[in-house]
Symmetry: C2
Subunit: 318 residues, 2 copies
């Protein structure tokens, strides 16, 4: 069996196993064909992950696939979209059967979890990298953008922050304890906030997913919206595991470390009060939007001037 | 100026300079937003080009960008689609101002030529590679697929074949003559057959663009359609430059070399006769579809059994 057939063998089933009614034609032609319902907008985002930059060398192929697809899907969550399909551009040093089988398994698990069909792709020989473009749809004109934050809006985040960043210290620990394991799970298995994003479409005034760190990603909202914000450091949600393992450093990790894939949103005050309890329970208010540009961080002991210190490996989303 | 800003400086103008009415939001958010007209289907394809595989080492950045975008756009031509927008995942060893400026220039020229807006992208540090996903639309249910060829259909190709493949021999020639230059132009500046594809949407029974070689790509149509074909080698269109420079080898190059980005289509006989002259003039009938599987090549002197010998660097389109 040639390398071409080997790859087809592993990826074709992903296209057939779980279709999506919007996807009229998937892999095996010059293009895939998608029919977007007339009352919905298409949203899409492309993301590359490179060995040694976005994941460690010799990282398990099943996790490489799962993390790459989850990270891309998080951009759909940040738009309030419902997933439809994805394309995969996979560059590999060689087509090795065991590696491909595990990679395809991780991709299939994650695609099924998010109800994403494989629409097409390209495989090439070269240094290991994975580029994924995800497609979703959202009701017309309801997509969440970065540019709608207005003075007075509540700034809120989902889940807890800093866990995935802290996990980097434990990736090579031979037998991690339960606290370390809790943080490692956040790194290995990102859980994009799809349902929360969908619930906030047309409700939040702006949204972004936290991939590079809270200060960096909230900074993108502030820049796109032409506003500033004050954040109360004491209100930033931290997991018990993070607090126990990192003590005084926990807040810094929550502010500046990436890979959490939680949402950071701004919501007009009245709408915040009107949120269904089931939605508001997934969010923590940590501050509010102000007119003056810049991000102001403060805690019980006074003020700390904040500067973006998120992860910037150069480039990033265009 | 940081590397992040440098990249933004070069690519943001591409997004603003030429918009497309279907593209509601381009670079600068978690996702781009596209509104597909209700009477059209979205088609899309992702392609990766790697230094040393798809283009030579130290190839001019302006040409790298132009070739990568043209190659991707050729998949839209093969579907009969009208271009809308594209995303760019660019991996670079370093952000070097001159290189980026030339690359962006090539990308802008080519994007303007095909009326493609830059919708978004991702930049990462690593070995040079360019992944592009193109989006187009086509009237509902009129997209050209590979699977519709039926016995009796005419097999036709556009333009001339083999030129880009022959050009590989002259890439490093210091002062190429006019014949070599004619072939080199085919390699450096692929011209996807967008208008021809659009004219054949809903008319041709199948189509593919010739990126890997005629036998290889026609082979994909035969496989997807469950049919075979006979091709008359004497009718394969060859350029004067190819014939003069390659003599007896010209036909082999036309059969097996890639990168021409012409279309290979099948058309029911009656529709072929009904084609407007302006469309048929762009095509050469080279054979016909038959029931028996396989590709049969013959010339005035008898028969040659054909086997796919196109370029397969492993992988390829999923």
């Amino acid at each position: 069996m040639g390398e071409f057939d080997l790859i087809r063998r592993f990826f074709a089933p992903l296209s057939q196993r779980r279709g999506h009614p919007d996807l009229l034609l998937a892999i095996g032609d010059d293009c895939a064909i998608e029919r977007v319902p007339h009352d919905r907008d298409l949203v899409f985002s492309i993301d590359t992950q490179i060995e040694g930059v976005h994941f460690p060398h010799h990282y398990a192929p099943r996790r490489i696939a799962g993390r790459a697809l989850a990270a891309a899907t998080s951009d759909l969550a940040a738009m309030g979209a419902t997933p439809v399909c994805f394309t995969l551009a996979l560059t590999l040093p060689q087509a090795e059967s065991t590696w491909l089988s595990e990679f395809a398994k991780g991709l299939a698990e994650t695609a099924n979890r998010f109800e994403l069909a494989l629409a097409g792709g390209d495989t090439t020989r070269g240094p290991l990298s994975i580029t994924i473009q995800v497609h979703g749809t959202v009701a017309r004109d309801r997509a969440l953008r970065r540019s709608g934050a207005r003075p007075g809006d509540i700034v809120a985040v989902s889940g807890t922050l800093g866990d995935a960043g802290a996990a980097l210290d434990y990736l090579d620990v031979p037998s991690p304890g339960p606290l370390e394991d809790a943080l490692l799970a956040r790194y290995h298995y990102p859980a994009p906030r799809l349902e929360l994003g969908q619930a906030l479409a047309g409700v939040a005034s702006s949204a972004i997913d936290i991939s590079d760190g809270l200060t960096s990603d909230l900074g993108h909202i502030l820049e796109a919206s032409g506003v500033g914000a004050s954040i109360d450091l004491d209100r930033i949600p931290l997991s018990g595991a993070l607090k126990q393992l990192k003590g005084a450093n926990a807040v810094q990790l929550a502010l500046h470390a990436g890979d959490d894939y939680e949402l950071c949103v701004t919501i007009p005050r009245q709408r915040w009060q009107d949120l269904p309890g089931s939605v508001r329970d997934q969010l923590t208010a940590i501050g509010c939007i102000e007119e003056g540009a810049g991000l102001r961080l403060s805690d019980g002991n006074g003020r700390e001037d904040g500067a973006s210190q998120g992860y910037d490996h150069f480039g990033k989303d265009l």
